[in-house]
Amino acid sequence: MALGDRLRGGLSRTREVLTMPLEDLVRGRRPLDAAALESVEEALLAADMGLPAVEEALEVLAARSGEIASGGLPAMQAVLGDQIRSALERPDRVEPFSERPWVVFVVGVNGSGKTTTIGKLAAKWRDGGRSVLVCAADTFRAAAAEQLEVWADRAGAEFHRGAEGADPSAVLTDALRAARARGHDAVLVDTAGRLHTRTNLMAELAKMTRVADREIPGAPHETLLVLDATVGSNGLNQGREFAKAGGVNGLVLTKLDGTARGGVAVAVVRELGVPIRYVGVGEDVEDLLPFDAGAFARSLVGGE
């Protein structure tokens, strides 16, 4: 609440400053006065950063205004970029393949890119010499399993599905047993898209987590929340609710090949304390990259 109060204070201070991009703001080498800072606030908001992250960035800028005022735009970008990068650098708390099979849940709202991400990840791991089983636990959406099957073929992974409309937990149980019996290195579990406000569907996810743990103690070892880079402030609600339901320990940011910058991911990382593991940059099998905090931070603030 304290932060909220400070934010509210900060926002109500807002003066009659035209909203302008960061670059315009400092081009004229104006000193960093209060008005300028507030205008930066607007610019960062426009990048979907979310209020708390913006607030912190501004505090850092204000504290170092001396050096920024003399260094112009590059200095400002460097300071902000640094600040965002360090907020995003989180140690990986998981070590893939330290358990066998390594079980990964992929979760998120509708259409964020879960199935595609699984296809890409399966291919990556197959290329690394791992044997992978992908499980179609989305038994709800039409042709979801067919879509995943195409990806499994592309990746050279084993594919497991149940009947359409089957209980996802039952499909999951079968898949985990099969993976164990056949000695697979990893199981990637595709879940149905769900809005985080659907309490019963979130409960279903929590149940799947319990079922996995019952079959393979410690599973799922990873729960990746897939966020669409175009998402606005709602991304933070998504992060919170999915974390509550399923112990999210990593994020995937998809569709970064578009023009959206995915700034809300900064707020999600801060809130959940989990790293962004991968980014999606296209619809092809190779379009999944490890997350690079520095590059991402630079893309949010501009500059090189």
Binding site: N110, E149, V150, V231, G232
Partner: protein, 445 residues
């Protein structure tokens, strides 16, 4: 949580009242509050600026200052402008061609909901006497055509699925089929694409030229942030959209993207997607959307949600009990469970007008309190729940221990229960009692 916009505006004008005079500066301060509310709702900052310019032009400071309720005056102008941007009194439905079949082309970014919307729209039109033909030209995404065929067929719609492997050929085949069979509408689903993907946007323009659609619907995701402006603008520039469909409005996003997309394209939002099922499509209601974006309380949304969540018989049973003054701790617990099922508290609260005026609502604490209260009641025996008067000192201690709380917590719960019971009798027992009660849970005050 932020206070509601109405409250912020009230505060702006109240601070001046004391001095007897309202000033232009105060009006400006009110506009700034509006601006922040819009930004929080993800409306693009450029759109916010334009909107406020229009509001300024329309409502001179004097006009607002002269009004009895300046905060309401500001809100009214802002609202009117927003409703107009979103499509105003645009007649819902689909424009038809002078010669059938009318073609409706659906386009948009990846995963926005085109395929689902195509099927929903097919159902919607069929329910109104049309004979639509559905076709997917998405040869890009794995199993995309299969997806439309499954949803469409399941809904009793005709889905054209020719043995062709490129989009223009599929489209031609569908148009021929529609002509031959006598379908009056052809709904064309397209592959998701990025607005900056030149080749795919070119392909889309080609499809549009071949289809000569009477409607080109841009399908946009209500969860979108600032990017909504760029993508909608670009789709409009490349293929000339005629309207917007906003999907995933069943979530808790404020949906500022609607305003962004409508503002930069000048096209109305025609339909709202409210779920994954075939019937979850409604003609868009600008006024309702404006309330949602501004955080003025989406009462309709809340009621829909309550109806979905609260089992009907349970509600009726409760009403009976209230009437007979048998409301017990068990019912009280059910109540709290229902309230939690409605969704995270802050969402529920944000949808209730007037809730914002309950100063000092601490959502985190409210949630915590609900959990605690439920745990306390869980630790009681059935007899205690039905007859709270038997709960003496030693029982209180046991209950506190059992639920991991203090005796003070138990006492407070019992006090709140007694208050609620009294309140409920006052509320009467109309069919809406349940919902009204939810709005008055002591935990939220």
């Amino acid at each position: 949580m932020f206070e509601t916009l109405s409250e912020r505006l009230q505060a702006v004008f109240r601070s001046l009242r004391g001095q007897g005079l309202l000033s232009e500066a105060q009006v400006e301060a009110a506009f700034r509050e509006v601006r922040l509310a819009l930004l929080e709702a993800d409306v693009h900052f450029r759109v916010v600026k334009q909107l406020l310019e229009r509001v300024r032009a329309r409502a001179s400071g004097q006009e607002i200052l002269k009004s009895l309720n300046p905060d309401q005056a500001v809100l009214r102008v802002v609202r009117d402008e927003m409703v107009e941007l979103l499509g105003g009194d645009d007649v819902p439905g689909i424009q038809t061609a002078s010669r059938p079949p009318s073609v409706v082309l659906l386009a948009g970014l990846q995963g926005s909901g085109k395929t689902t919307t195509a099927a929903k729209l097919g159902r919607w039109l069929a329910d109104r006497g049309s004979h639509p033909l559905l076709v997917s030209t998405d040869v890009q995404r794995p199993a995309a055509r299969e997806q439309l065929r499954t949803i469409g067929t399941r809904a009793g719609l005709k889905v054209h699925h020719p043995d062709e492997s490129d989009a223009p050929a599929i489209l031609r085949s569908a148009l021929a089929e529609a002509g031959a069979v006598g379908h009056d509408v052809v709904l064309v689903d397209t592959a998701g694409r990025l607005h900056i993907d030149d080749a795919l946007m070119e392909e889309l323009a080609g499809l549009r030229d071949a289809a000569e659609p009477s409607e080109v619907l841009y399908v946009a995701d209500a969860l979108t942030g600032q990017d909504a402006v760029r993508s909608a603008e670009e789709f409009h520039r490349r293929i000339g959209i005629t309207g917007i469909v906003l999907t995933k409005l069943d979530g808790d996003s404020r949906g500022g993207a609607a305003l962004s997309a409508a503002a930069v394209t000048g096209r109305p939002v025609k339909f709202a997607g409210l779920g994954e099922t075939i019937e979850a499509l409604e003609p868009f209601e600008p006024a309702r959307m404006v309330s949602r974006i501004l955080g003025l309380g989406d009462v309709l949304g809340l009621i829909a949600r309550a109806e979905e969540t609260v089992e009907k018989e349970q509600a009726e049973e409760l009403v009976r009990k209230i009437r007979r003054s048998e409301f017990s701790l068990e019912d009280y617990r059910d109540q709290m469970r229902q309230l939690r099922k409605l969704g995270p508290l802050d969402q529920v609260l944000s949808m209730m007008p007037g809730m914002g005026s309950l100063k000092g609502v601490d959502v985190e604490r409210g949630e915590e309190e609900l959990r605690r209260s439920i745990a306390i009641i869980d630790s009681m025996t059935v007899k205690e729940r039905l007859e709270p008067s038997v709960i003496n000192g030693s029982r209180r201690k046991r209950i506190a221990r059992g639920s991991g709380n203090t005796v003070q917590d138990v006492n407070r719960l019992l006090r709140q229960f007694a208050q609620t019971r009294k309140l409920m009798k006052g509320l009467g027992a109309g069919p809406k009692a349940m919902k009204r009660l939810a709005a008055r849970m002591p935990q939220l005050r």
